[in-house]
Symmetry: C2
């Protein structure tokens, strides 16, 4: 048999599990990011794949030999760059069952288990977050697991384009975009929206960047209203507004409720991108992240960022379960199915860009099962407390300053000595090897971001970070 037997897998699986456990136990002693020249890893491969099999028992050591000095360790306790990518060991257990099931959840009938667990788990999580019941499958909407917030945004945009021109004979599905559709973002909206707009065929011309309320990083509803009215006067069609809760750069949030009101004047879809921050709604004291979301059409937050669930697991909820299939369904004979035709089931292929889909709900279910909502709250609160403590220290330190109030677990800071010093600070801190931070710009000036969120990050790691920040600033 050209695969392992179950018994061979049993033996090797134990070895691999041990390798993973050992790697996690030792990760804090390694650099967060290796320094490596481009091409180093590729050069270690033969031109041709081997003709004959090699024993898999040696594979973990081979991977270490080939890549061990050329990695960026997102699971390292000192990883505070970008946003986290919580590949918790808990979720890996669920993911192992998912891989083993090897189910294709494209149709309900191709894996009722995959489909219905996803419905149940996203419904449970919607309630845990405090989303309106309308966003649940029980309530006429529903959640789905996408690969990323980028794809979720593209899916929402297709739904918005269809809703704006639903006629089967003359609408979006029939004639495509017209070049008059407009999508509204703020200067800090994630670049995935611009990418979705490009992929959807609207071009840069279709993207309107609405100014922020002066002195803030939040979209100005008055400016949005003015932009929409001007566009309508020009013969354009406001199709979608993306309201961000927790921007990538600084953690700022747009006023979702006010945006919903403005969008309603033109029937535009409101997509809320809370990719990073949204999961904080599990904690009642942070439920402000859902302010205004009750009026939105879609809401996205990533379980794979800060909710202990290994990539990929981006959660997209919509208020109207019918609109995604209406926008995206195409049924050739080989996908025709009695259960689908009955209308009694959800076929998740029609909720996403690809056709095939993994049983991703299993890893999320494992997290809910193994941690409980209380464990998830403790996880979130731990990082938020670290951010508050770091912010307190920065306020009391002469050489550093906050670039704004911390938002949840994100702290933005700069050197008081100016832009060059801030750039130097980022470079020198990262050169230490024990922590990794990332940079961004606010109004053209550099800012250093500290995004707490790795599963392994503890109070000790804050002390390490602080020590390095002080020494290098």
């Amino acid at each position: 048999m050209p695969d392992l037997t179950p018994d061979e897998f049993r033996t090797l699986g134990h070895l691999f599990v041990d390798a993973v456990a050992d790697a996690r136990a030792g990760i804090g002693r390694r650099p967060v990011r290796d320094t490596v020249e481009p091409g180093t890893v590729r050069a270690r491969f033969d031109r041709e794949a081997a003709e004959e099999p090699s024993p898999l028992a040696g594979f973990p050591a081979l991977v270490e030999a080939v890549t061990g000095d050329a990695d960026t360790r997102w699971q390292h306790p000192g990883f505070h760059a970008f946003f986290p990518a919580n590949a918790s060991l808990t979720s890996l257990l669920g993911d192992l069952l998912s891989g083993a099931a090897g189910a294709q959840g494209m149709l309900w009938s191709t894996s009722p288990a995959c489909t219905e667990v996803e419905q149940a788990v996203t419904d449970q999580l919607a309630r845990g977050l405090g989303l309106p019941e309308a966003f649940t499958h029980d309530g006429g909407g529903g959640g789905s697991i996408q690969d990323s917030a980028s794809s979720a945004a593209l899916v929402a945009l297709t739904a918005a384009l269809h809703r704006a021109a639903p006629d089967p004979g003359t609408g979006w599905r029939a004639r495509g975009v017209t070049g008059r559709e407009r999508v509204y973002v703020s200067p800090d909206t994630h670049s995935s929206l611009a990418k979705a707009v490009r992929v959807a065929g609207l071009g840069a011309a279709g993207l309107r960047t609405v100014a922020c309320v002066p002195g803030t990083r939040a979209m100005d509803p008055a400016a949005l209203r003015a932009a929409m009215r001007a566009d309508v006067a020009d013969g354009c069609v406001p199709v979608l507004v993306c309201a961000t809760v927790g921007t990538t750069s600084t953690g700022a949030s747009d006023p979702v409720g006010a945006i919903v009101e403005v969008a309603a004047e033109h029937g535009a879809w409101v997509h809320v991108d809370a990719a990073w921050a949204g999961v904080a709604a599990l904690c009642p004291e942070h439920r402000w992240v859902l302010d205004g979301v009750a009026g939105a059409d879609s809401f996205c937050t990533d379980a794979h960022k800060w909710l202990l669930t290994a990539f990929d697991a981006s959660l997209l909820w919509v208020r109207d379960a019918a609109v995604l299939p209406a926008a995206l369904s195409i049924t050739p004979p080989y996908l025709r199915d009695a259960a689908s035709d009955s209308g009694a089931v959800v076929d998740f292929r029609d909720w996403q860009i690809p056709l095939g889909r993994r049983f991703r709900a299993l890893k999320l279910w494992a997290v809910l099962h193994g941690q409980g909502l209380s464990g998830l709250r403790a996880h979130l609160r731990g990082h938020i407390a670290l951010a508050a403590e770091l912010a307190r220290r920065i306020r009391d330190h002469d050489g550093l300053e906050l670039a704004g109030e911390p938002v949840l677990s994100l702290v933005c800071l700069r050197a008081t000595a100016g832009d060059a010093a801030t750039r130097n600070l980022l470079e020198r801190v990262n050169a230490d090897g024990r922590v990794l931070l990332s940079g961004t710009e606010i109004d053209g000036s550099p800012v250093v971001r500290v995004a707490f969120g790795s599963v392994a990050t503890t109070r000790d790691d804050l002390e390490t970070l602080w020590e390095i920040l002080i020494a290098r600033s």
Copy 2:
């Protein structure tokens, strides 16, 4: 810590590995597809997620209790429906390391290991398949791992749209699609192309279905030429042709070489969708699946269908490594990166729709390592031999007939008694529970498909299938 400790993971990981091994060892004794009413699985979940953690040791049994009577078992040896989804135990080992690494390969710098292993492994596989060196990273093109052939098609389409109108100020990226772009498919091209065309904003109007050579299921190059010329005369722009090698319905193939010649008259992109059949090029005697591909712009085949690699792992090669980033790159300040700016590295985020990406190359590498090219060929040849044997028996049997010559591991058949009998046959065979077949239509008439390809399928399973086919026909 709101996650397992490495030692807890070690213990539980062994338990989960054992559960996977037991499930695989026993899968053949279960039905391929459970019969279950919609809503059954959902009804077993509480409305709210539990507040407190539960021991993960009980999770495999819980999953079995909730979903064990409501699954479609794609890894079952009697699964011959659709195309296979090879979640080999070999690849699961690699996937476990991938999950544990938890790397985000969006930029080279965010995981040099993820990026370069993907480059190396897709280069090795390109050579194993016999793709021209131009499709390798070494040769100026390159491969990437996408989630699915659907996404690969959409990526190819964005590249084609950009190449057809590259001007930064007035081209596709700036003004979007114009409504005059045309994409060419055959009646049997996979529906993912129609979906990509829709998502890209071209609408059904942008999709031209080109007739087949009479009496075949292969696109007629003369009809393609006529369609393109008529479109150009109408002021339209031929942007992309999808040539399929191994259609989903019947395994038919379009004449890629001739299509390449026609497309060249108008500078249209040729995308080759060989999602299922392409991997057969590993066997010299089946290398015809690459006929004409040397002239194409992109080539897609799925490692997750028939190449032992757990979903998702769709391989997309392009001849020009620069065109995907040119089409898809958008760089906000928080993604700016010195290595990227140097031009010395590949950032795979610009080769795909999403931003984030898993270290999927590890599971493919594990397969190459653990099976070798010789093992992969044995895997493919085993299923192809089963198809040949089944076809031989059908030819000799009065009640059944081939709907066409078998293609690789796919056999299409019907009942000699006519359409109603064919529909009944499919229903009755699947009701047995030991095998699962799927149906399609050829010229409006039902056809039963037998797609061999599950990792566990052996000669014994052919005997079982044959016994059931005879008994139910």
